[in-house]
């Protein structure tokens, strides 16, 4: 009887459950034909193919939208270069490189896309073909950007006077490459892999949306564009959708729930326990692209204090807590080489992350100190602030907690989550910063560390240069002013550290502006040594780069290698045949 009384309740419950199941099944997103990538809603991707983007995703989207003369791609055997807007004809004994420009390639603004519900209609408007003028404009823009652009380094090391002759009747253009090496085909294509913008583009825009790649941007919704396969393109998947979220804490859940089908970076870079179902997800690892560092405010802390603070901040202890090593909740990692839980490899001891070329190749061999900090030199409380509102929220949250743990920082640290304003105004003894999208290759971006405006809302590099009497471009001291960098360094201010600050500025510029490997290496060593002497931060650790994909995709169509962009092969991605 008792059960009878409860029967309606059970029926109601069953109805609710069935209804819930039905609702779930009926309202579950259908991601067929779509590649759906998450992003932090208030960190809208802005795309400039020639400058490092404000977010990691921004840089990756360059590959989706733009072509170079040659495009980096990959196959199961490794990296390959594919013809983009050019076809390599050859290189003669004088290192004159001849490239035939592709014909009948149109810029994406040739088409007009209209959307009705989930249906998109693509129609042609005015013809906007790709021409040599677009290439000429692009080279001019890269040269104007100078050392801010990694492409500047590439083309100036390839050509003394970047530019080309032509095109001739065959549509061929000729580049005069430098005589100082034998230029192999792969090298030539690498040098000419910079993305090309249409000549009618503004020289400086926050976002560039007109490209020639297989995907073209749809009209932006709240400032963010999705991408649709071009009618004349060769992409397999019809749509690339950017899906906004408040922060990264739910990314794995969203993937698990099928709201997104690609997660390019996991929180903590760790293997996600919720995505462990190999039938639903497969994982691909890349070299690290994010590292965490605590940057010291040189206006608040003396050099002696900074030295002791660095000693106090044990990256090993922090990392152990960060990955909860030795606990039931340990965050497991795997690197692109297949190494698992090799946390030690992610510890950084220099501005150059351990994953970078400079450390891996021992160009820079940072000092590894394991001495006890002289706490008497430190302020009673060192205030380390972090802004959790602009990505890496999960990681920042944990780190704040870890730093406040007296067992880790001996009770001398007070880590606080603050708003962007505190960071802007330098209201900190030190600031916790996650550097996203760093390159581990030659082109490690030192401007992003030293000259970046301390404002998480924008990506601004305070580089000011001028030409000296000898025609050489030099960095100006105004590039390093106290409101313009996380360290509050000021090259214009007098002080006991001015000489070192000046030198640091020169070394940073030397590193970033040179096209010579030897100079790059030497300046890397000098920056490392001088920074170690100036003691500007604690470089903590990098996190692995781990991408999860829904098994909606055929894993064999997705090739990711080392430092290659994760989206460089996106046009080849395809769904499992049985789906």
């Amino acid at each position: 009887m008792k059960n009878k009384k409860l029967l309606p309740l059970w029926i109601a419950l069953a109805v609710v459950v069935v209804a819930g199941v039905l609702y779930f099944l009926l309202h579950r997103p259908d991601l067929s034909g779509r590649i759906v990538l998450p992003y932090i809603a208030h960190q809208k991707p802005s795309i400039d193919p020639h400058l490092p983007g404000p977010t990691a995703l921004s840089d990756k989207l360059d590959e989706v939208e733009f072509d170079g003369l040659f495009n980096l791609s990959a196959n199961p055997s490794g990296i390959v270069y594919q013809d983009g807007l050019g076809e390599l004809v050859g290189v003669d004994e004088n290192n004159v490189v001849t490239v035939r420009l592709v014909q009948n390639r149109r810029w994406s603004d040739t088409y007009k896309v209209t959307q009705k519900d989930d249906a998109y209609n693509v129609s042609k408007t005015s013809e906007h073909p790709f021409t040599a003028e677009d290439l000429r404009f692009t080279i001019r823009r890269i040269l104007a950007l100078g050392s801010l652009s990694p492409d500047y380094i590439l083309i100036t090391q390839a050509m003394e006077d970047p530019g080309f002759e032509g095109p001739d009747d065959q549509g061929s253009i000729r580049f005069h490459f430098r005589q100082n090496r034998i230029w192999k085909e792969a090298d030539i294509k690498e040098m000419l892999s910079f993305k090309i913008l249409p000549a009618n583009s503004p020289m400086n825009a926050l976002n560039y949306t007109v490209g020639t790649a297989p995907y073209m941007a749809l009209p932006p919704i709240e400032g963010v564009s999705n991408y649709i396969r071009r009618p004349d393109g060769k992409a397999v998947m019809p749509l690339v959708i950017l899906s906004p979220f408040i922060d990264n804490s739910t990314y794995t859940t969203e993937l698990r729930n099928g709201v997104i089908n690609v997660l390019l970076e996991t929180p903590f870079g760790a293997v996600s326990p919720v995505l462990g179902n190999r039938e639903k997800f497969f994982v691909k690892s890349n070299v690290s692209t994010t590292f965490f560092a605590i940057l010291f405010n040189t206006q608040k802390l003396s050099r002696d204090q900074r030295v002791e603070l660095r000693k106090l901040l044990s990256n090993k202890a922090i990392e152990d807590r960060f990955f909860k090593i030795g606990t039931a909740q340990q965050r497991h990692v795997v690197d692109y080489k297949g190494n698992q839980d090799n946390y030690q490899d992610y510890l950084n001891y220099s501005i150059f992350p351990s994953s970078s070329y400079y450390i891996e190749e021992k160009i820079v061999e940072p000092v590894r100190e394991s001495v006890t900090a002289n706490l008497s030199l430190l302020p009673d409380t060192v205030r380390i602030k972090a802004c959790l509102n602009f990505g890496s929220r999960e990681e920042y949250g944990d780190l704040v907690e870890i730093l406040n743990d007296p067992t880790v920082t001996q009770g001398r640290i007070k880590a606080i989550a603050v708003g962007n304003e505190d960071i802007q105004h330098g209201a900190y003894d030190a600031v916790l910063v996650a550097f996203n999208g760093y390159r581990s290759n030659f082109l490690f971006d030192m401007y992003d560390v030293f000259l970046r405006q301390p404002d998480f809302q924008i990506q601004k590099i305070n580089l000011e240069t001028a030409m000296d009497a000898k025609g050489m471009q030099n960095i100006l001291p105004t590039s390093l002013h106290s409101d313009g960098n996380f360290f509050r360094l000021d090259a214009s201010a007098e002080g006991p550290e001015k000489a070192d600050i000046d030198l640091l500025l020169q070394y940073v510029y030397g590193f970033m502006s040179t096209r010579q490997i030897g100079d790059k290496q030497e300046y890397a060593r000098r920056v490392d040594q001088l920074e170690h002497s100036l003691c500007l931060g604690s470089w903590l650790f990098s996190v692995p780069s781990l991408a999860y994909f829904s098994t909606q995709f055929d894993s064999s169509s997705i090739d990711l290698y080392g430092v290659a962009s994760q989206l460089s092969t996106i046009k080849k991605w395809q769904e499992q045949p049985d789906r």
């Binding site: 980096l72 990296i79 990694p150 492409d151 380094i153 590439l154 090391q157 390839a158 430098r178 005589q179 100082n180 090496r181 034998i182 090298d187 690498e190 040098m191 892999s193 190749e361 021992k362 160009i363 390159r439 290759n441 030659f442 082109l443 030397g510 040179t514 096209r515 010579q516 490997i517 030897g518 100079d519 790059k520 290496q521 030497e522 430092v563 290659a564 962009s565 460089s568």
Partner: protein, 740 residues
Amino acid sequence: MRSSILSVLVLFTLAGCATFKELEPKPELSPREQGFIELKIKDEVFALGQGKKYFMKFPRPEQANFVLVLHFSDKHNLRTYLTRAFDDGREPVTRMIDETAGNDSASVYFIDTSAAVYFWVIDDVGQDTGLRMSYRYAPRWRYTFENKYAEFKQALDENVVDRAIFTAAPGAKPIEGVDFAKEIGFVTARTQVLAGVSSELKGLGSLFPSDIAAKKDTAYLKYKVLRLAVEDEVQFQESYATALGIFQTERSTWGNTRAFLADAGQFADFAAQRDRYPAPLLEKARKLFKSRLADAVPTYEKQLAAKHDARPFVPSPALEPVERLFKALGAVPADFTALRSFVTRYNVEAEAISTAKERLAEVTGRIDQSTKSPELTFYAGIGTAVRDIKAGIPEPLASSDARYKTLECAGLVALEIGKLNEQTSDLELLMTTGDLVARDIAAHAWASAETRTRALSTGEGTGSFASVARQRAKLVSWFEEDIFSGVQTATHERLDAFVKLNEEAIENVPALYADSAFRPAYLLTFSSGGASDLARKRSQIDNYIATVRNYQFPEAAIRAIDKGIGRDMGAQAVDRARAIVAHGKMYKGSDKQILSMVSEYDPLVPKSLLRPREYRRVFALPVTSNRHGSNDYVFRIRLQLPSDAQFPVFDVNVKLSKDMAENAGRESWYDEITVNKNPIKNEGRFRITSPTAANDYEAQITPVQMEKSGDTILEVHFKRPAYRMYEISVMAQVPIMKKN
């Protein structure tokens, strides 16, 4: 037909007609000497037409030197000539001379027997006339003499001179009282006329036929008488004029003995002609001459006393005519004989001195003028000549003459002879010594030659050679130069031969440079120019040796040895390479090719890479010498590539040979790679790719950092179980940064 025959006849007739018509007298013309014969033709005269032309043949005379005389009445109406050959007036015609060109009634031609016939040609007749003409053949002398006799006779008669003064006829004026000039003029004028007559008569005599004397021809007898008379008068007048001249000359030298003595010859001749002049006349003259000769000896002694040199004495006037005058007057006085004897001796000595001096000058001139060392026979030849000169130098006797020994010139002669004796003795000894030195030099006996030359130069043990100091200095300079050049040449030849012999030698090359060939053939120890000159000469020889040692020999050897390094890269190539390197250590030249060869084959010399991306051949050579086992090899590369980087780095690609690298997969092909002695290991920032067949055995070493302002030496050591040379290629290029 008839007209044709007529034409031929007319032409024949016209052709047979001559311009000149021959006149043929009857009777025919006769060449015999006889009187004039009238010319006729059958008792008629020839009729000559106006404007007509004629000729007539006259036979030649029976003898030479004849004349043909033609008399005719109207010579002016005719234009005529005589010729030896005539062809109807055709030129050339040689017209004979008419000896009576101005005569209007006769023509005379000299004819002889050279022509068979003479043609008398009438070239023009002024108006019609009859030819009235006679002819005559006559000897030429007769024709002339007959025409001139009266003239000659008159000349003789008008020019006879009185002989009284000449013969001192009683009452005649003494000759010393005559106005010599006037009388001589008077006589001479007549003598000239008569001499002319005499000359013509003599000329006429040549025309006489040889048999004329036997013919007793009257004209010839008259000729003889006249000719004798004329000649006698001429002879007298000449003697008389001569005597007048002698007395006149003597008178003109009064107060001037040298002038008198200057004419002593003609006085002597005059005094000696006793047959020509009358005795009284001669006696007057002899007395006069004797009185004048008393001043002769003092005149000459005065000249001797005024002589201040040792040159031959030339008396003025000459002694010989004076002595002859003395003799013509009877006897030569003793003082004149003593004078003549002294002068003769003095002149013998003086001339000998002069001759010896000239010959010595010639001999020493041969030494002085010789700009280079003479032939070996030179010294003996000069020695012989000097001895000959010496033999020709007389004893100084003139200075011992009792009468004239105090004369300065006598003393000077003696002094000169003494000097000559010393000079010839010195020169003879100099030549003897020189001959010895020259023979030493010829025999390459450098030490002996140098010792003798030193003695010659310093005079130690040889005499001072003061009288031939210049020649001695010359010989010394020759010998020094010969010894120097001889030693130099001997050194050169020995060294050159050594080089030629050893330029391809590859064993123990350093020992070659220690060979005695690289020392002078003789170490010079003396120079008359002093220590600095000696040092210069030594230095010159040493410089050549140094040039050969440090330039020529290594250059030649390196080139020769390098040619031998061909495709064979085996042990001999290593030996050759090492030989080249050893030669290279001695080489101080700047020949880029040589330096390059040495550098290429010396494994320890870094090979420069100057341009990026260009492969450069490099030889890797063993630095050990195990011919039958394993050896250590090394090669070094100097990076000198242009770069605008502050700290440039390069990829260095090393293309190895297959046998070097084919086992690289099992064991490292190298032992050590260093950059500026700092080892590079295949770890950390450095990467050394393995050479494989797939990459054509090309290893890459990167990054190799190049010192911008210093040396960057990449050094590779490896071992191979071989003793040979490896050829590898090295290339460096700038590495590039990649974005991806």
